[in-house]
């Protein structure tokens, strides 16, 4: 089962606009992706409420995972997105 770690890059954390951009990107993926904080329960990455509920702050480690064997590219794309400071970008 593909997994990938990422550290939250947005200065406001995975909240507000960065959370919305992440959830939209997850919904565009051909595979179902889950996200968890290190040591926490994984939640559906397409669910804005579940993602906000993680309360992931800047610098927190999160784990992306999927049941689809071919999902590695999706995880890589989402991990790269999480590590950017989405809030500082226009």
């Amino acid at each position: 089962m593909p997994q990938q770690h990422a550290f939250i890059g947005a200065s406001v954390g995975l909240h507000a606009r960065p959370a919305a951009l992440f959830v939209q990107a997850a919904a565009r993926q051909p595979v179902r992706v889950r996200i968890a904080k290190a040591g926490g329960e994984p939640v559906d990455a397409r669910s804005i409420l579940s993602v906000l509920g993680l309360d992931a702050r800047k610098g927190d480690e999160v784990i992306l995972s999927t049941d689809a064997e071919e999902g590695g590219a999706a995880l890589a794309e989402l991990a790269a997105l999480l590590e950017r400071d989405l809030d500082a970008e226009p």
């Binding site: 507000a16 919305a20 939640v43 559906d44 804005i48 409420l49 579940s50 906000l52």
Partner: protein
């Protein structure tokens, strides 16, 4: 045929006459207790899915027409309404045998509890979630949408009461007048309607029985709402108003008593969209620039650069005039998502005004920096003042911070009785004082500003309040510091005479109040104002004081 029109009375808080169909600010819908599913689970599922999708589409549409932070909040709300996990959970609850509205409320409340548990920022999202839940439930039950209506034509807004958040998006081209069932003369409705120049009547319980579309005439000076008014009556009242207004244009320019004592006449400014109206008024500047409107309805604080831009636009509009900027006054009736603690047991006595900087010093620092940068490039005479100052030490700390940012004139608002009692020390600690009479009355009389039943205690004519004003003005005079009044009291022409008699040197009010106050001052000497103040101070209560001063003064 005679029309049967009925008169409903309330308290007139913003003068003017307007007539039109009413629309209601709907209360949040409630699901009837023990509601059973009306159809098969599949039908219930479909109706829930349709209501969620329609709510999301509506929010997306509003997000496209909104700008800035408001657009982001609406877009995030739309995503919540489309949240697949939420939709699944509602489906589960319906299949277990619940009616669609019950399932919606249950699922939203589960997510709400989860978010509230996750910290302060999340607790604010919980409020967004409540709003979506109310919209979905209103759709399912066929109830009117909560929030400010948008019927597509101008209307008279009727509500139980208005909160600041309700008024942020009021469109001055669509709202003709405001009538509320509750609220008193210092309620938020009074402030916002005056700043928008809209006629308003508050505390008018009679409008509870009216339905959307019924035509009313609102007389904001008399505090009367006429249901189904006769056209001739509307025409006659509008004519009388026009005649009165033309009499007032006889005096203009800086405020003066009949013997030439200067009383600066200033205006209160809140929402940036009112800037045009406010800047065009015949005033000597802004006596109270309420900056919190820049901070309302957004998930986080505006950046220094965004603030600088907003302040610069205000300073630009007032080139050559004075602008007194009040730093952020969050809390109590003006909660902010990123500052206010939702669980404060007594917000009016809690972390609000200058006290916010105890917890968030960077907020005040950033604001002073933004004001200083905007002031540097402007031709306006920029002053700053802090709300809710309680001690001379707080005033000194604020003045030092403002001076440190290169803002030369820094003052303290006197709204807490302790600051009035210590006015000599507070005046010595900073550059000027400004009396906020609404809050000063609330705290001196231990009477909630929103409590309509206690309106007599909140009456700005109460001698105890006038005594606190007298002490403050006297301390300012002795220390050579200007003392202004920027509460609603300053806009009452009769009371303005008393305030000047008590020693107040400037009056800041809504633009609609300026002509009457200017005219009243021009007809009385400073000595006459002092005599009127003495009468008001020795009256047994506010009502008696007003009556006695009215009889002694020369207003028609």
């Amino acid at each position: 045929m005679r029309t049967l029109s009925s008169h409903l009375t309330g308290i007139g808080v913003s003068p003017g006459i307007a007539s039109g169909p009413i629309e209601r600010l709907a209360p949040p819908p409630t699901v009837p207790e023990g509601l059973r599913p009306s159809g098969e689970p599949d039908a219930e599922l479909r109706s829930a899915a349709d209501a969620l999708a329609a709510t999301a589409a509506d929010l997306e549409g509003r997000s496209r027409t909104a700008t800035g932070a408001a657009a982001d909040v609406l877009a995030a709300q739309a995503m919540m309404a489309r949240d697949p996990v939420l939709v699944d959970r509602i489906g589960e609850l319906i299949r277990e045998g619940r009616a669609a509205p019950v399932a919606v409320v249950t699922a939203f409340d589960e997510f709400r509890a989860q978010l509230s548990a996750a910290g302060a920022y999340m607790a604010e999202r919980a409020a967004d979630l409540d709003d979506i839940r109310n919209r979905v439930v209103a759709r399912l039950l066929g109830l009117p949408m909560p929030g400010v209506p948008d019927p597509g034509h101008p209307f008279v807004l009727v509500a139980r009461d208005l909160a600041p958040a309700d008024t942020v998006n009021l469109d001055p081209t669509q709202v003709l007048a405001i009538v509320t069932e509750q609220g008193g003369p210092t309620s938020h409705t009074a402030i916002i309607s005056k700043s928008m120049g809209l006629p308003a009547v508050v505390g008018c319980g009679g409008v509870a029985g009216l339905v959307a579309g019924q035509v009313v005439m609102v007389d904001g000076a008399e505090g009367v709402v006429v249901v189904d008014p006769d056209e001739a009556l509307v025409a006659q009242r509008l004519g009388r108003l026009a005649a009165r207004r033309s009499a007032l244009t006889g005096v203009s320019g800086p405020g003066r008593t009949s013997d030439g004592a200067a009383v600066q006449l200033l205006i209160n400014l809140g929402r940036e969209r009112d800037l045009g109206v406010v800047a065009a008024a015949d005033s000597e500047g802004v006596g109270l620039y309420r900056t919190e409107f820049l901070f309302l309805e957004r998930p986080d604080a505006p950046s220094v650069e965004e603030q600088r831009g907003a302040y610069a636009r205000v300073f630009q509009a007032f080139t050559g005039r004075k602008v007194v900027v009040r730093t952020l006054d969050a809390g109590a009736d003006k909660p902010l998502r990123f500052v206010t603690q939702p669980d404060e047991p007594n917000p009016a006595l809690g972390i609000r005004g200058l006290r916010t900087s105890r917890r968030f010093p960077e907020l005040l620092d950033g604001q002073l920096r933004a004001i200083a940068r905007a002031a540097a490039g402007s031709g306006a005479d920029v002053w700053v003042m802090a709300p809710m100052v309680s001690t001379a030490a707080e005033a000194a700390g604020f003045a030092a911070a403002a001076h440190g940012h290169g803002l030369p004139v820094a003052g303290a608002m006197v709204e807490v009785p302790s600051a009035a009692l210590q006015a000599t020390a507070v005046a010595a600690a900073c550059d000027f004082l400004s009396l906020g009479t609404n809050d000063l009355a609330q705290y001196a009389f231990a009477a909630d500003r929103m409590a309509g039943e206690l309106a007599d205690l909140l009456d700005p004519w109460q001698p105890a309040l006038l005594e606190l004003i007298r002490m403050t003005a006297e301390a300012g005079r002795a220390a050579g510091r200007p003392v202004g009044v920027c509460g609603e009291a300053a806009g009452d022409p009769l009371l303005a005479l008393v305030l000047v008699g008590l020693g107040v040197t400037s009056l800041s009010m809504a633009p609609t109040g300026l002509p009457e106050v200017r005219l009243a001052l021009s007809r009385h000497s400073l000595a006459e104002c002092r005599a009127l103040a003495a009468i008001a101070l020795r009256s047994p209560d506010g009502r008696a004081g007003r009556r006695a001063v009215r009889e002694a003064g020369r207003l028609e």
